[in-house]
């Protein structure tokens, strides 16, 4: 059913359709609307779940770790500082191979304190083993949450999935969203059936400690699971498209790149702005295009290299920076070209929109202009002069 709703409400509706049994979270802007909506759905009896208010994000993540390990589908959400406080637990959830789904309402990190959007928070978890999916708009937000459970719970994956959505821009932005029918979601997403769980009828030890004889194999198994996810994610997107009649998810998506000479690679809601800039540049006769990366972890290095290797000029535009080097996505993309063997393309990195700095079509056009100039790993776009 099509509804004109806020992004946070859309997340709550999508999560409800996945039938979670335990939800736990701690308030933080701009995530809070998501769990407020879920709390109301539970309070109204529209969602049969345990909604547990906790004293910190660390405990929110720990609580859903425990409920997932008991075999009950669970959910949490956070942003920014809450994400950083959760981080210890996030690594642990992935290492314990618990297929949890969470939302990261992307926000900057302190200091300075700033509540507005960028993607520096979720980037801190890129080495954690979590699968990270980035949404461009709220339809994708809905679709990715439903797909996320299916990807996470796949027997060849068994890794947690976070759906990253830009804070305020998506969480507080209202647009028309098609909320799927429950019967279709039930058919698409079978009930959660965790094999290694806490069950008094079949006692198992979870979270044992591993000495140097075993630790490396456990981490290697996580890497294999990530490799498997690169196959499972497009397969699930295909199944989704068949079941719901629209394309959503997958590894990445090109827009007007077939004959492009200049391509921007980016993540999240800014892709919408880039598409508009591309359309305008095309009218001026410039061959511009954009590649939207949906799956950031596992990084689809080989596929993305194959898709981009023939473009002469590539810009990575991202709302995060690995301080002391460049943008994390830039570094990943650059290394995928090195691994691919051919690096005739000019690849430059652009950091944009930190802490909610406005990104306009003009900022994007500036990127396309700079792309023809000297190849550089890092340029900040939209910095005040002087």
């Amino acid at each position: 059913m099509k509804k004109f709703i806020e992004g946070s409400r859309a997340v709550a509706e999508a999560v409800k359709l996945a039938r979670p049994g335990v939800i736990s979270a701690y308030p933080i802007t701009p995530q809070t609307h998501i769990v407020e909506e879920l709390a109301q759905l539970v309070a109204d009896g529209d969602l049969k779940a345990e909604f547990v208010n906790v004293e910190s994000e660390h405990s929110a993540a720990s609580l859903v770790l425990g409920s997932t390990a008991t075999g009950v589908r669970s959910f949490t959400a956070t942003s920014s500082q809450g994400f950083l406080l959760m981080l210890e637990v996030l690594f642990n959830i992935a290492g314990m191979r618990l297929p949890l789904v969470m939302t990261c309402a992307n926000r900057s990190v302190s200091a300075p304190l700033n509540i507005w959007n960028d993607q520096q928070d979720s980037m801190t978890a890129r080495d954690s083993g979590w699968i990270q999916l980035f949404a461009e708009n709220n339809q994708e937000v809905v679709d990715l949450h439903i797909q996320a459970y299916k990807i996470a719970e796949d027997k060849d994956v068994l890794l947690p999935v976070m759906v990253c959505m830009d804070g305020f821009i998506l969480t507080h932005g209202a647009e028309v969203v098609d909320i799927p029918e429950q019967t279709l979601v039930d058919k698409f997403l079978p009930p959660f059936n965790l094999v290694d769980k806490l069950d008094v009828n079949n006692p198992k030890t979870l979270g044992a400690f591993a000495d140097p004889d075993y630790y490396m194999e456990a981490r290697y198994a996580m890497q294999v699971a990530n490799d498997n996810a690169l196959k499972v994610i497009p397969r699930v997107a295909g199944e989704f498209s068949k079941a719901f009649g629209r394309d959503s998810g997958g590894l990445f998506e090109g827009y007007r790149i077939e004959d492009a000479e200049q391509v921007i690679v980016s993540l999240g809601s800014v892709v919408g702005t880039i598409k508009e800039a591309v359309d305008e540049l095309r009218k001026e006769g410039k061959k511009a295009g954009v590649l939207k990366l949906i799956t950031y972890r596992p990084f689809p290095a080989s596929a993305i290299y194959q898709a981009l290797k023939n473009f002469p000029e590539i810009a990575v535009v991202e709302k995060a920076v690995s301080l002391g080097y460049a943008g994390p996505l830039y570094a990943d993309l650059k290394s995928s070209f090195a691994a691919g063997g051919k690096c005739a393309s000019k690849i430059s990195g652009f950091v944009i929109g930190l802490g909610g700095r406005d990104i306009t079509k003009d900022s994007i056009k500036e990127v396309f202009d700079l792309l023809s100039k000297e190849e550089k790993a890092l340029r900040f776009i939209g910095l005040k002069q002087g």
Partner: protein, 296 residues
Amino acid sequence: MAEGIKTLFSPGHTACAGCGQAIAARLVVDTAGPNTIIANNTGCLEVFSTKYPETAWGVPWIHSLFENAAAVASGIESALKYLGIKEKVNVIAQAGDGGTADIGLQALSGMWERGHDILYVCYDNEAYMNTGVQRSGLTPFEANTSTSPAGKQSLGNLRPKKPMPEIAVAHGIPYVATASVGYPQDVQRKVKKALSIKGPKYIQIHVPCPLGWRHLPGLTFDIAKLAVETGLYPLIEYEDGKLTQVRELLRVKPVEEYLNPQGRFKHILNSPEAVKLIQQIADRNIEKYGLVETKA
């Protein structure tokens, strides 16, 4: 498991000889029985009982991190409630004193305040033993630990034990007790009683650590008993906020008897003033909890 021994905490784990925590943990799980799920903080108990691919545990058991067993257990309890089987399953969260009174206190406070039906057990061996005997919030006054060393300018740990049982009582939870591995039947009775009560419960069990306290492994029970008999570790029970039971002392022993066999107090034994300060702690406990029956 050795023939003839029926336990949910199998021998063969790697605890040190004379480990009080291993004995107490076995008492707790065997009293709780097979319909129990345990969440365990990081610490000695976790490390010596679950070295992959082996495990000592005969019940479902999970370890996540150092400070979050109370929150993980809250998630397990919530999941069991969702599944409609909470009434049939005990949930126990357990940790050492550092994991309870220091790094895990926030998560534990949250678990208490939310009213989860969980028994939290703190195995109190009075320092961070797993990392090499560093001081915790439950290290006793004047104990020599690796981060509260005795020296020319110091008598060891500068502060008394954090009053965890009272902090638990202040949360308004229905059952709080202290116990000692020196009194195994008392441990069993308290665990049984706690599990018969719905809501959050807290039991703090005093468990000597021969390595950290520097006493002979064969003295674990004797030293545990001496802590109680001197008044330094009162065995008390609170139900619904009221002190309902104390283990009375027939004959109060001087604290020297408890301190003497332990290397961690060796530096104060020749200082009557320093010993007196510990005696005062015992005397205050005796008065506060009425450990000695005074006939009118």
